[in-house]
């Protein structure tokens, strides 16, 4: 673990009644950039599985003699 990282402060989590497992997250200001602090909207295709999961046909589409 890098010494540059500092543990998150726990009191805000306790106040918000969030699980303390979050304390395992460490932050470093240097690696926070605009992209990390903005809420992103991902452009997804109509069928998300096209880009995330490729299934196989259960049966051969044709039976060519090769």
């Amino acid at each position: 673990m890098s010494s540059d990282l500092r543990p998150l402060s726990l009191p805000p989590f306790i106040t918000e009644r969030l699980p303390l497992g979050y304390r395992r997250i460490f932050v470093n200001d240097d690696i926070l950039d605009d992209e990390a602090t903005q809420r992103l909207t991902l452009e997804q295709s109509k069928y998300r599985h096209v880009s995330t999961y490729v299934r196989r046909p259960l049966k051969p589409i044709s039976k060519v003699e090769l």
Partner: protein, 382 residues
């Protein structure tokens, strides 16, 4: 535990054939389809009536009614069933109902074929209309260098963001393409799940691992198949061999009970652009540029081919592999009979033997008829 002891302890119990292990009766040999493990075991059909007795008699009752010889046979058959984990011994059968045999798919068209030879098609229109039908799998088969690797990339791009989840291609080898070109196209188009290159200079396979290493590479890798054989036309389709039999699963097993394994929810564009159930079948439903695929699919005459079940086809209805075989309605052993078995099937269920279909009496003459009358036979009358 030894079989003897298992049987001795189970005399008061029923023999339960697990509900995902389904027996299929054939003329000479019958089969058990293990739908979960995806395997088929065959055994002599003389044993098949036992499955009915298992449902009505407990093991001890069965043994009591059998002669000494029959008991030995039953013992041997039970050994086969137990060692393959097809059966368990249970007090009651009622808690183990059969798996429902219903089948459906969340789409009007499940798979499609586009054949290409001397002319290109309007791929954008085809893919757009397949998307409207919810088509999940597309195969393009090219018989000449007209369809290039670049065309394949364009087609893969058209399929992105549509209902089409997988694209398979069988294309002609182009000597100007290197192995890296093929690998690059497959790697950058994840939708491409199969690529066969025919008319190549040598038979070999090119491994594509998408940059993955070790065990993960085994999971994601695919192989590009290069073959010296030449694919010339749709006449080169319809081959049914042991290799072509489906690995059984509940969805395919149920589908083949109710529908034709090849034609159900399929639409094809042949090499001249005509829309057909299968590129090799006689009936055309119009040129793809002048018709709408959804209009054709909605028509009862197009869907009639979907319902030609193996149970209604001569010879096939006596074959224990009928629910693992995707059939062929384009080339029939008797071209004048709609319920004839596929010409290119090499299995004989009456002798339980595989052979080259060309060696069957009359097969060569029938094949010559198909070669001459290509696309003229109304195989299925609408």
């Amino acid at each position: 535990m030894e079989l003897e002891k298992v049987l001795a302890d189970s005399l008061g119990k029923h023999v339960l054939l697990f509900t995902d292990c389904v027996p299929v009766e054939g003329h000479t040999a019958s089969a058990i389809y293990d739908l979960t493990r995806g395997r088929i075991s065959t055994f002599p059909s003389e044993y098949f009536p036992l499955f009915k007795l298992f449902r009505t008699h407990r093991l001890g009752e069965l043994l009591d009614t059998f002669s000494e010889d029959d008991r030995a046979n039953l013992h041997e058959f039970l050994g086969f069933l137990v060692s393959n984990e097809y059966v368990a011994f249970v007090d009651e059968l009622a808690p183990f109902p059969e798996i429902p045999s219903a089948w459906d798919a969340p789409c009007s068209i499940e798979n499609a074929i586009i054949d290409v030879n001397t002319q290109r098609h309007d791929y954008q229109k085809i893919v757009s209309e397949l998307d409207a039908l919810g088509c999940m799998h597309l195969q393009v088969r090219s018989y000449s260098p007209v369809f290039t690797l670049s065309d394949l990339v364009d087609l893969a791009r058209l399929c992105r963001g549509t209902s089409i989840q997988t694209l398979q291609a069988v294309i002609s080898h182009d000597p100007t393409n290197s192995d890296d070109d093929y690998v690059s196209v497959v790697t950058s188009n994840r939708i491409l799940v199969g690529l066969v290159v025919h008319s190549a200079s040598q038979d070999r396979r090119i491994r594509v691992d998408y940059g993955a290493r070790r065990t993960s590479a085994k999971l994601v890798a695919m192989e590009i198949e290069m073959t010296t054989k030449k694919l010339e036309s749709a006449l080169d389709c319809g081959s049914i061999t042991q290799k072509q039999l489906l690995r059984p699963s509940t969805p395919t097993f149920n589908e083949l009970h109710h529908f034709n394994g090849c034609l159900n929810r399929k639409i094809s564009i042949d090499e001249t652009g005509q829309v057909r159930n299968c590129p090799a079948m006689g009936r055309s439903f119009g040129h793809h540029q002048s018709v709408t695929l959804s209009d054709i699919v909605a028509g009862p005459s197009f869907q009639s081919a979907w319902r030609v079940r193996k149970d209604e086809i001569k010879v096939c209805q006596d074959c224990q592999f009928r629910y693992a075989c995707t059939d062929c309605r384009a080339f029939l052993e008797d071209p004048d009979s709609e319920d004839s078995k596929p010409l290119k099937c090499g299995y004989d269920p009456y002798t339980d033997s595989w052979a080259d279909w060309r060696e069957r009496p009359g097969a060569a003459a029938t094949w010559e008829t198909y070669r001459k009358r290509r696309h003229l036979l109304p195989i299925l009358k609408g």
